[in-house]
Symmetry: C2
Subunit: 363 residues, 2 copies
């Protein structure tokens, strides 16, 4: 992997970058649709590509549980499995292990948890997590981390940070496939000292990129952005910075300003399935009976297939009668909305208009 800074914004820490992988180049700042268990819910890979998605994320935890790494391997690896020939990033599984699964044991070596699907006990340590992601074969992989809840006592946070650093060191040593880039994950909750410590230790080890994890877990926008600003400054300029699981358009804009290059979030598809459409004029809720005879699209300025072809009235009807096309179309629109947002952000950065523009954005 190669990461090149193409342009630095004159009025913020934001930057334009170009990330090269074996499966293609990625302009940053970039938003990754989330293909949880090998599929972005309700969207075909062809549609994903048509709306401008370049890099997508798949969840190691979900793939590990079902269908399992052996099966993905037998089916030709993650790219073939998902029918996605562009770049893919796999997360570490840390977030899901610590939020979805009953933990059965955690120590400095690793973590044992019970599958949320069938209770099967699974043990993961730094090396196992690497081997799994090596075999899945994503272009960018991540070190196993310990993700903490919010709020969290400093003593607990500290332990999690120490483990995250220890596991990152071991992951780095166990990482075999040089065609895969390895990102470490900075933990530390909203504690600036711990964030600094974690970032500095990870940077000493040296990774292809750095993720900021453990945010968007209930700390709120202001705490999140304060932590992102603080942490981003501790990370090397010449490496991509990835804010995990974020977020709302306002979060993304504020984080780009702080120098973040990569984002992933389930909001476009999860909200889409729940009839919530993102627009520049704020959300449109497509179950609202006031839309019953609205002949206009969700968003007049949007160029997505949904907005070019379907009225708000029709989509409201689809949700009202339970037609799958409702969730499919609003998810598609939302993903396109996020890709258009990122394209605008890149355009504004390029012309040093980002900071001014960001002030005017209110969605």
């Amino acid at each position: 992997m190669n990461f090149e800074i193409v342009h630095e914004d004159r009025y913020s820490a934001g930057r334009l970058g170009l990330l090269s992988t074996a499966h293609g180049e990625i302009e940053t700042p970039v938003f990754m649709p989330v293909g949880t268990a090998g599929a972005v819910k309700g969207i075909t890979p062809q549609q994903l590509k048509e709306i401008g998605s370049v890099l997508i994320l798949a969840n190691t935890y979900h793939l590990l549980l079902r269908p399992g790494v052996d099966v993905v391997d037998q089916l030709g690896g993650l790219h073939r499995f998902m029918a996605w020939d562009g770049p893919i990033l796999t997360d570490s599984g840390g977030f899901q292990i610590f939020s979805l699964s009953p933990l059965t044991r955690i120590d400095d070596d690793g973590v044992e948890f019970a599958s949320h699907v069938d209770g099967t006990k699974i043990y993961l340590d730094a090396e196992t997590a690497m081997r799994i992601q090596n075999r899945l074969g994503a272009d960018i992989i991540t070190c196993l981390d310990q993700c903490t809840a919010y709020p969290c006592k400093d003593s607990e946070l500290k332990k999690a940070v120490e483990r995250t650093i220890r596991w990152a060191k071991r992951a780095r040593e166990a990482h075999l496939h040089n065609e895969q880039s390895l990102f470490a994950i900075v933990q530390g909750g909203v504690n600036p000292e711990l964030r600094t410590y974690c970032a500095e230790e990870l940077v000493k080890l040296g990774f292809d990129g750095y993720a900021i994890g453990g945010l968007s877990v209930g700390e709120g926008h202001d705490n999140m952005i304060k932590t992102v600003c603080h942490t981003a400054q501790k990370l090397p300029k010449d490496r991509p910075r990835y804010l995990m699981g974020v977020g709302m358009p306002g979060d993304i804009i504020a984080a780009v300003k702080a120098g973040i290059d990569m984002f992933d979030c389930v909001l476009p598809t999860r909200n889409g399935r729940n009839a919530y459409a993102f627009t520049e004029n704020g959300p449109v809720r497509l179950r609202n009976s006031a839309l019953i005879n609205e002949a206009g699209p969700i968003e007049a300025a949007c160029d997505c297939y949904c907005c070019r072809n379907f009225s708000r009235g029709t989509i409201r009807h689809f949700f009202n009668v339970g037609e799958m096309l409702g969730p499919m179309l609003v998810s598609l629109h939302n993903l396109r909305f996020f890709q258009r947002l990122m394209a605008t952000i890149r355009q504004k950065l390029k012309h040093n208009e980002f900071a001014e523009w960001a002030k005017t954005v209110d969605y």
Copy 2:
């Protein structure tokens, strides 16, 4: 509407036709995907077009209940509403009224029924059914008919046939929009005398086309085909013949042999949602755990997006974890399978190879 017989098969009653409508030409025999309440379940209109669909069906009954004719009208009519710029056929509602709804009253003038959604009482007579379909604005519309269950006493069948004829006469008089073609529906169960009587009376009235209704309701393949063969012979050669709600590939092939030009059926999408894929080698059931690591497509000979990109193993996984993409992809494959079947049928008819080929088909 104009219907032209392009070729008559030398060895069967099958024929190739060209049906012209304001929204495009249709090569027959044709299969119509069913867009129940304005959407073919899980498939975008763009995908429908890509897999070779030309004419689609929408259910008057479902649209009448939700969102209602006024709303479809306010949203620009059925083509705009469904985002389908090709030809559309609306059925009469008869089948759904007599199969889904608790009837509250039926007499020679019309039928009152309770909506299966919320119990609202709705009254339909021949004229109302026309006015509704005139306002929806499909290219081909159908007269209100009384559809009988199977089995059904001859005295009941006779009454239903008389009403169907009376209502067709009134529909013809009430039909205002000359750009819409009007089809009458032949009823009569599996009683050949009643089928003859119904067909002859309707033909005397004169319609743009003739549908055969009241089949595929439990009478079985042999009774169905016997009735279709018998009835098709009583219908004018120079008008399209439409077998409603049929069916399995074997039913379609046998009916083409009897001179049927048009078909609709929910099987490709309904079975698709239930992990049942049609192939030339028989059905593939995609929940089957034997497929867990099968790297090949559902059907190697298929050119659909699903088969060109996804393995059986991945699709099995999607059904296993409840990913929407499973139902979406198998529905898409099945619809393409039906369109490929119709293309093969037309090709075989063209070269007078249809009857020979039909003998070899075993799916």
